[in-house]
Symmetry: D2
Subunit: 345 residues, 4 copies
């Protein structure tokens, strides 16, 4: 497609970002061009915006960032066979090699040569974005663009939460960012017996309550383990879903997990942490699953089916901005006074 | 306990049953005596009442039958340690040997020497019943006696239904007797995407709708497989829960199961049946689980937790009689114009 | 590649086959041309050769058949990225669509639009064969060509056998064709406690013994279930691997399976069969898995690793012919006096 | 039984132990008296002997310790029904309550009220020991007493090792004490592709090689992760079996685990440890299982079946002493110049 487009890019190795105007990118073989309808700010984007140590080590400037979005397919590269012009799509943001042991074993989400949209390749904080056709996920037009734009974090939550049995079980969700909030809603939908949601932010705890948490725990004011052990007469919860990455919260989460309990860890501690492996894991006979990304594309089907079954994650979306006002959007997202923030190009 | 009690017994090797008066039974070591609050008629009881070939081969008269019930513990045998006088209990009806490979491997539900209450030992259609203490399942007084009396069939449904993932999945429930109806309610609670319920009885299909079925199929009027394949654009359902034991329904159920789908079979075909193993199982890559009884006592905990989480099976109970009117109760239960029939001693 | 090649083709809708000379096929984008080093006769090929009802319904003549082989890559189509000229490869014979629910869920082996080499597209009983690059499986040159040519049936056996835990378990292998024989060897390698192998052919039972069976059962002379139940004091075996497709053998196999046992069914009964579902599955609490093809490519990695770990399937290969003598080869294969028959183009 | 017996007891809250003479204990209902044939020194016994902080906090003196043994049943308490006089038995050392959630869910190995033989109750470093009959494990007389005495640590190894698929997989065994050595033998028996065994003790690494390790790593001289990553071209191993409890070894073990790999942790770090949860677990998508004791009694059946299938752990036994020479035995066991040390009362 001829012409130029607006995009938010990291143009310098420093905090912040810049609105730039660049040519609409060419569309290689097996790729498609998507006109972005809506895009959302992820925690990863905030790391990049803030230019923290992880971003400094991973991001090469200039880079258009952003990876959560939906839009309409407006151009097809050569040999595209699965996607059609006019399709309404969201996107898996892990671009896999297709050749490694993991890709050939149905485990593309842990591909050895993975590239991530908006991190290792140009992202979606723009009017247009290019994507391999295999990464497109076709959606019904009846899905609101704000929900369609959230398939990536919803997928994280689905992958994490459904790795354990939730039906009839007690569940603790540690960390109530958008992924944790999705996990609360999924646990509720799956018939969990009782859902404990913990965070340090009252705004998010209120959202957790709206999405179905039975008990919310402000971890600045109370210990997660004390509240849960008291509520469960010392027994603990069946399932732990860890979305905070906070070392102390993880430790308390394990203390609150029952013997033989199961934990899924999606949150990423920023550095090595102390853990009482004997008490947290060994004596307890716990099972722990590290979770990365989303299963391609089992998780996507499941997320679609959960939405069709009535899963409602719309309360997570608390703020909306035009793309031009990205600075206000990032300020709000960083303030913690937001669930999910949507940008419209 | 001194005195006599009323009981419904099979006193002759012929159809029907008789109200008798017998001494309240003595209570052996490790056993308890329960005053029955409510008891329910199971399909097995109808087989015994009708004196069909299975009953003729299995039941030795005289026999007090009935095995679904709840009541209050009124006497303890020697060395009872887990149960107390006054406890409100339901009962696992499989009395296991505790010594065989299965019992010692946590698989007591398929014990090699199992005895079944009301089949191989005196049952609960009586004012009092004796039970090994290990078979008692303590319940909260807040659970209505009619629900407490249904823990055995509810347990069958829980064991069958939760052997597969239901959350976000399409599910066909074949056979809408009380166990099938419980399975519909469980699938709904677990967040199934869409529930298809099939039976030949409109009364029961109405109940299935009340308990959460999205689509009901009268198998006398429509083919189960045709309805489901049409509804799913030829794809089929993810999960099959078989509670009918009807050969033709089982065949249609398999045809309606998607490739890679999972089936749990609880219904008991009365004789060998024709099955297209190649199409139903092999080419499809299906997984099939035969289900027997309830896991002791994982299923019981799960059923209790599901009830606590709001699972409502009360619409299943459609008729109530004093024990004295057992003949009217059996007539109704046999007519198909009943969900579950409760008797009060 | 210019020139012509020899091939064995079904040229008429009748029993038998014909050696023909045809142009070496062109190589489409994402495809490769392989010079066949060795190819093997599968039961499917015998169905085609015999022109049985299945073949009449499925095969469109003229058709070069054959699908088990290995060879050297001698030409690359456009955009081939994973395979190089000179690579020594075997091949997955299921050519998948890559677009359906199954393909996108890591379940390509049950793809809804699958085409099978030598059945739905030109096969490998020829000097050259064309293949999508994604179906090539690169092997070490150190693997003998006869073993490399058997990766497809070995994969069937690996997929079937390792779907259950074998280590320390008793295993019955029903049917000792090449796939059953591979399963015997795999069970031995995996540390099975005791392996029972059944067939109607003494030649094959001798091979089963060589590959590691502890007890062989000639099902023409003895009942499989009687032998096994006597050997196990009525307990039955832990695992059933069904590779015969024979209705009576399947029934006996289920009778010989212990309560709570697990069965994998790969054999394909040619028509619907009688099965006592109540006794075989329900009361027993058995788990049954239908098995189709091989996991792409988890099974391939596992087969490779088993060979590297010392799995020896070479005794299965009992006869070798040049491709020109295909008629003698088929006569021998059909006689039952062969394990696996190899053809060299 | 009348009379007195010799026993090794912790008689004071200080290092060491003492040979004492005490009355042969009475045999309560449901209990049995066993004349000890052989007993073995466990790491736990060394902690008690050394009187380390764990022992100081847990052991109440006086206490006869020791828990690994076999012997002959010489007296039955009242109501014993599963064990007979003259039976040759080994013993599960976890005495469970039979009443808690875990006991009633087939998870007695993590019972909430567990008592451990030789720790919380009188142990087997004696001529006689009393045991609940349900803890007895009957063995064939053909099993040598030294092997029969090792069922407890063998069971730990079986429970740990078979929690993951070993067949065709690469396996790292961290820590080559007796349990680690058993794990090496089990992995070999199960058809592992390649076994890496790590320890700091050359004597034990020699034993690991004898029991089937392909590569041994002296962790004092080489880094476990470096050796394994080099051997696997950076890919890592499929399975990690952790039997050392050493923080640095655990960290290296995780680094050497491949993406999507599975780890079982039996070793008990003596204090909280640093772990890079992000790299070790989350990004990797690893699954980690804490392992405690042995499944009652699934693990026991499996261990028996593995021995019957030819598993040979006899090289682990490197030293034998009469019970009277327990001080020399403990000195040797503590020196690291021993695999397993057997004592004969």
């Amino acid at each position: 497609m001829q012409g130029t487009m607006k995009a938010i890019a990291k143009t310098a190795a420093a905090p912040g970002a810049e609105m730039i105007r660049v040519p609409i990118p060419p569309v290689p073989r097996h790729h498609i061009l998507i006109k972005v309808s809506a895009t959302a700010i992820c925690g990863t984007d905030i790391h990049i915006y803030n230019w923290d140590p992880w971003a400094q080590g991973r991001i090469k400037v200039p880079r258009i960032f952003g990876h959560e979005f939906c839009g309409e397919v407006v151009e097809l590269g050569e040999d595209v066979t699965c996607v059609q012009l006019g399709d309404f799509v969201s996107a898996e943001t892990h671009v896999t090699c297709g050749r490694c042991y993991y890709c050939r074993s149905g485990l593309g989400h842990i591909c050895q040569e993975v590239e991530i949209l908006g991190v290792d390749r140009e992202g979606c904080f723009a009017e247009y974005v290019v994507l391999p056709e295999q990464n497109a996920w076709k959606m019904e037009r009846s899905v609101p663009v704000e929900i369609a734009a959230l398939q990536d974090p919803l997928g994280n939550a689905v992958h994490t939460a459904l790795a354990q049995e939730l039906t009839g079980n007690t569940v603790e969700v540690i960390g109530c960012g958008p992924i944790g909030l999705c996990a609360v809603a999924i646990a509720r939908k799956a018939g969990a017996l009782r859902i404990y949601a913990a965070d340090v932010n009252e705004f998010r705890l209120d959202l957790a309550r709206k999405l179905g948490a039975d008990v919310v725990i402000n971890a600045r004011k109370e210990r997660i383990d004390e509240v849960i052990l008291q509520e469960t007469q010392g027994f603990g919860v069946d399932v732990m879903l860890e979305m905070s990455g906070d070392a102390e919260a993880i430790r308390q989460g394990f203390t609150a997990l029952r013997k033989g309990g199961e934990a899924a860890l999606l949150g990423i501690p920023s550095r090595p942490m102390e853990l009482d492996v004997a008490d947290a894991l060994v004596f307890k006979g716990a099972t722990v699953r590290g979770i990365n990304g989303r299963r391609m594309f089992q998780t996507w089907y499941k997320a679609m089916d959960l939405l069709a079954a009535g899963l409602d994650i719309s309360p997570i979306i608390t703020s909306r901005f035009p793309l031009d006002e990205f600075e206000q959007a990032f300020d709000l997202a960083r303030s913690g006074k937001a669930g999910k923030t949507i940008l419209y190009p």
